[in-house]
């Protein structure tokens, strides 16, 4: 590990000033950053510890929505009574993430900034990977692609985004609030993460010098009737193979509003808007109709050699998640 300097910030303006210069990086929970540094994936010159900034970890609920400070820990958000009641998909996604130790450390801001678990990217001895070293090639193209993306990948990178709670936030139309020394801006959640195109080393639209300050989630009946279904190869403490975050509003037994976002399918949470439209007016008890509406939304799915099974798996996950949210599974 290359050496670095370490500084503790106790106010946001100090952080903004400190990272406006190249070579500076924020330390929140450290559960990603330390791994990257040990692996040689990044070698920052200056660590700016933001854990001492008071109020940045606040979780606030109001009638119109929820505001989660960037430094709120995953375990505290998951255990927050109003979050569990009014935004269950967020609490469930968090409780199914990592382990309690990691959730106690990891911040919500850091969670959104985590990078792919592609084994080539994380290799202890560096392998060709455009994310790790732009222009070096993609080892997954001719290699192991079982866990890779179905939607939105490019020849430059096939990787998926590993965050669970990002999928829940995408389903609920959250907004990411960011600040820099030039001011503040709001980024709609679906615009926050990037598809790889020809620059897979950039996972988000966050500009150098920008800091996430909070995540805002609007309240809605669909948020209150929401659910996260995570499919993985172990019962606990494992990243998703595929996942579905759904929110549902019913009139009688008919779907009047629905949100669907998928995890493990792309370099960003994948919102299934076409299925959302097709599901309007369908009875939640009509499993065949649910499945037809979902089927119709996979026109741009592009499975590769070994990950085609994910398409069927995620379709079933969506139907099951809808049924669970609708109290009929």
């Amino acid at each position: 590990m290359q050496s670095f300097t370490y500084a503790r910030a106790s106010a946001l303006p100090d952080v903004l000033a400190a990272i406006s210069q190249p070579g500076g990086i924020i330390l929140a929970g450290g559960t990603e950053l330390l791994n990257w540094m040990k692996e040689g994936i990044v070698a920052p010159e200056r660590l700016v510890d933001i854990n001492g900034i008071s109020g940045l970890d606040r979780i606030e609920t109001a009638d119109r929505g929820l505001r989660i400070g960037a430094l709120a820990r995953m375990s505290d958000v998951a255990g927050h009574e109003a979050v569990a009641r009014d935004y269950p998909v967020i609490a469930e996604a968090l409780l199914k993430s990592a382990s309690q130790q990691i959730r106690n450390m990891a911040s919500m801001g850091g969670n959104l900034m985590q990078r792919t678990r592609c084994p080539y990217f994380r290799a202890e001895i560096e392998l060709p990977c455009n994310k790790r070293r732009p222009g070096s090639g993609c080892s997954a193209l001719a290699g192991e692609d079982r866990g890779m993306a179905i939607f939105g990948w490019s020849e430059a990178c096939l990787a998926t985004h590993p965050s669970d709670v990002a999928v829940a936030l995408a389903a609920l139309d959250a907004v990411v609030q960011v600040a820099s020394s030039h001011g503040a801006r709001d980024i709609p959640f679906l615009d926050f993460h990037r598809l790889p195109d020809d620059a897979p080393e950039r996972e988000t639209v966050l500009e150098p010098g920008e800091v996430i300050t909070a995540i805002e989630v609007p309240a809605s009946p669909a948020a209150r009737r929401s659910h996260y279904l995570k499919i993985r190869e172990r019962a606990s403490y494992e990243f998703a193979l595929v996942s579905a975050a759904v929110g549902l509003e019913l009139e009688g037994s008919e779907i009047s509003d629905v949100r669907i976002a998928l995890g493990g399918m792309a370099a960003k949470p994948w919102r299934l808007s076409a299925a959302e439209q097709a599901l309007h007016g369908i009875a939640i008890s009509d499993a065949a109709a649910l499945r037809r509406a979902v089927d119709g939304a996979f026109g741009d799915a592009r499975p590769r050699r070994h990950n085609g099974f994910k398409v069927e798996l995620v379709k079933r996950a969506i139907v099951r998640a809808l049924q669970t949210a609708g109290d009929i599974a």
């Binding site: 590990m1 300097t5 370490y6 106790s10 106010a11 450290g30 330390l34 040990k38 130790q101 202890e124």
Partner: protein, 197 residues
Amino acid sequence: MSPIEITRRALLEGTAATAMITALPDHGASAQQTPTGGAGESELMVRLQINGKTHSLDLDIRSTLVDTLRERLGLTGTKKGCDRGECGACTVHIEGRRVLACMTLAAAAEGKEITTIEGLADGDTLHPVQSAFIGHDAFQCGFCTSGQIMSAVACIREGHAGTEADIREFMSGNLCRCSAYPQIVAAVKSAAQIQGI
């Protein structure tokens, strides 16, 4: 030792430390840059509160808490398994919450109350969770055990030890290579009952 490990070690030791700690403008931090040694090389003075005792140490800024506990303070009860946040062997409490010492920079733990397995017993009287692990044979080789116990103490305190399913879920961050899981679950369950939780 595998060639991979040699490589990693070489990387870790290869670069000279040019460490320093600073407080950002106008806001205090207790840590200070304390230049020691020769040109361009400096270590960092860090004060750690561990099991009720304060330790002042000159540290390489890159030191993790697990390495500091083990290599500098001789507190080898905390184990280092994966060093990547994956196994839970290094679980300690910071401010009463269970966290991973391999994912914590020692400098970042300054000023916080740290508890390790060595700080759990009350003199010669074992903590109820320690006794429960012995009573239920909840280990074989013992490598994961201090992490399991630190995790279990917090798990019970959090109220996540009410059912076996809860225990299994909320203890999933502690892997046991010997697979003593049924005994671990039994030990945690009985300790939670003894503590009336």
